[in-house]
């Protein structure tokens, strides 16, 4: 990828391309990389080797990381099980609970806009005879607690609802969900991937029994994650989904990814220190981007709750403009779209559809994910490019023209057989 410096809005220079897709992944913080490096070279031992210094050094590093991760979420280090990432953590939590508690009940509750790692895991369990309720979300992307109450019955063993959504950044009322689960003696799992290190999250205060985490969304390396498994009130048990040498107290066999775990720990330590301050900075940048865009364009709509939202997330639909063509016009900026044209399946985002926004707005959506390494100059540049491109594409849009002529687009009888 070529990099060049050009003048953005104002006179500060920005370096292109700009990465603003921090819900997909984040750049590994240089402090994290630095701490990881020795564990590839001189400290390369296997944390399970009990008979020599190499193993002890690795084990000690893993235990320090475990403590740092636990500290960030208010857990104890024995409650942290290392995995290869949140996809595995979600699988282990949901399948592991289902298998362990299947005598007690066969009903699981989740919601429509979970990550696929949760939804597809639930779908598989349905094949094995479990019953799954997929709660709808409201327009703001949050579930209705009354829906949850109504969905619970005496066969419910698990509720799995994410803390923060990866597309629209909506924060679920997890504390209330957890309280409700504890009242009913139901376990509560949350996919906390997007929330960790971004907003306060505490397994005790938030009544969480199981939480999926991954390092690469908080400036740690890819391919390492964890599952928090509560040890008391209640003590949660799981059936392991990967059999082998009995690592991680039998819950997840496999030689530990020591450098990755060290990096994960360092990323959490940095987050514990600086999260509050960083959240303020990210929210300010996000609002600056939002205000610049909304101040210059009409008919742009924010998807998801404005109030209950991750600080770095902005998901907007630009009416009358198709998302992929917009991405093409801002090709020196890395963001993503919920448009069908950008997806391999040619289906628009199920998350945006889940909000009931209408497919046309899903096609017009862009997700901006602002992170630690974004600057104000970048935000200004992005706003300018987006506004210019939307204006240009609206001049090209038959829908914009029709809307300006006063035609109600929802009343038009479209001729298309849906192509996607």
């Amino acid at each position: 990828m070529s990099t060049n410096v050009i003048s953005g809005n104002g006179n500060k220079d920005v370096k292109l391309p700009i990465y603003m897709d921090n819900h997909a992944t984040t750049r590994t913080d240089p402090r994290v990389v630095e701490e990881m490096l020795p564990y590839f070279t001189e400290k390369f031992g296997n944390a399970a080797s009990r008979n020599h210094e190499f193993g002890w050094v690795a084990e000690q590093a893993v235990e320090q990381a475990r403590e740092r991760i636990a500290k960030l979420i208010g857990a104890t280090s024995k409650e942290i099980i290392f995995t290869s990432g949140a996809t595995e953590s979600n699988n282990l939590a949901i399948k592991g609970v289902a298998e362990m508690y299947k005598e007690k009940g066969n009903h699981i509750i989740t919601q429509a806009i979970e990550h696929k790692a949760v939804l597809d895991t639930c779908k598989r369990l349905e094949k094995y005879g479990f019953r799954v309720t997929y709660l709808p979300v409201q327009k703001d992307g949050r579930i209705d607690l009354d829906d949850l109450k109504r969905a619970m019955d005496d066969k419910t063993i698990l509720v799995t609802i994410m803390t923060a959504n990866n597309e629209i950044g909506a924060l679920q009322p997890i504390r209330e969900i957890g309280a409700l689960c504890h009242e009913r003696g139901v376990l509560f799992h949350t996919d906390a991937v997007q929330a960790i290190g971004k907003v306060p999250f505490n397994v005790i205060q938030d009544n969480v029994d199981l939480a999926s985490l991954t390092a690469h969304k908080l400036y740690g390396p890819k391919g390492v994650g964890a599952l928090y498994v509560r040890r008391k009130n209640p003590r949660v048990q799981l059936v392991a989904q990967i059999d082998g040498g009995g690592h991680e107290r039998g819950m997840r066999s496999g030689t530990l990814n020591v450098p990755g775990i060290v990096g994960f720990g360092k990323a959490c330590a940095i987050a514990s220190e600086g999260m509050a301050e960083e959240a303020v900075k990210l929210a300010a940048l996000r609002d600056r981007l939002k205000d610049a865009i909304m101040g210059q364009l009409d008919e742009v709509y924010i998807n998801g709750s404005v109030e209950h939202r991750l600080p770095g997330n902005l998901n907007i639909s630009f009416a009358y403009v198709e998302g992929e063509s917009l991405l093409m016009g801002i090709n020196d900026i890395a963001v993503s779209s919920g448009s069908a044209c950008t997806s391999a399946t040619l289906e628009p985002s199920y998350v945006l559809k889940g909000l009931g926004a209408g497919d046309d707005l899903a096609h017009s959506s862009i997700r901006f994910g602002i992170g630690r390494f974004n600057t104000q100059a970048e935000v200004d540049y992005v706003a300018e490019r987006v506004v210019d491109t939307v204006k240009r594409l609206r001049e090209l849009s038959p829908l914009y023209e029709m809307a300006k002529e006063g035609i109600d687009l929802t009343k038009v009888q479209w001729a298309a057989e849906p192509t996607h």
Binding site: E324, C341, L346, P348, G358, D359, S397, A415, A416, P418
Partner: protein
């Protein structure tokens, strides 16, 4: 996805963007696709009644870059052709010219549909027979 140079060129410099008066008898309008599907194309032709030659064409497209390029190219190709010659343009020709990958073939299909719809509309206005071509109608104008 990587776009071909030709798609990029049409996207960055779309040809013949705009609109004609859709009530003129010389103008045929095709409006195909649907917003829910993420693509809507409007293609218009202006036909010389003496020669049946398409003297000018305009488009507006809501859709991906390949859809924009397909319709931009379609306007270039229909110009100077008689309406019957224009009806021989196939989406596969557009695919080839723009090097569209398989997932973008439907964008070229839409462009072919738009050409046919525009010509169908012009023929109808001018009392010529043609295969009816489905196209979008504001509800108010129907019935």
């Amino acid at each position: 996805m990587a776009y071909s140079d030709k798609v990029l060129d049409h996207y960055n410099h779309p040809r013949n963007v705009g609109s004609f008066d859709k009530n003129s008898t010389e103008v045929g309008t095709g409006l195909v696709g649907a917003p829910e599907c993420g693509d809507v194309m409007k293609l218009q032709i202006k036909v010389n009644p003496a020669t049946n030659i398409i003297e000018d064409a305009k488009f507006k497209t809501f859709g991906c870059g390949s859809a924009i390029a397909s319709s931009s190219l379609a306007t270039e190709w229909v110009k100077g052709k008689t309406v019957d010659e224009a009806l021989t343009i196939r989406n596969t020709d557009i695919v080839k010219e723009l090097s569209l990958p398989p997932v973008k073939i439907h964008c070229s299909v839409l462009a072919e549909d738009a050409i046919r719809a525009a010509i169908g509309d012009w023929k109808k206005k001018n009392g010529q027979h043609s295969q009816p071509q489905p196209q979008a109608q504001p509800v108010e104008q129907r019935a």
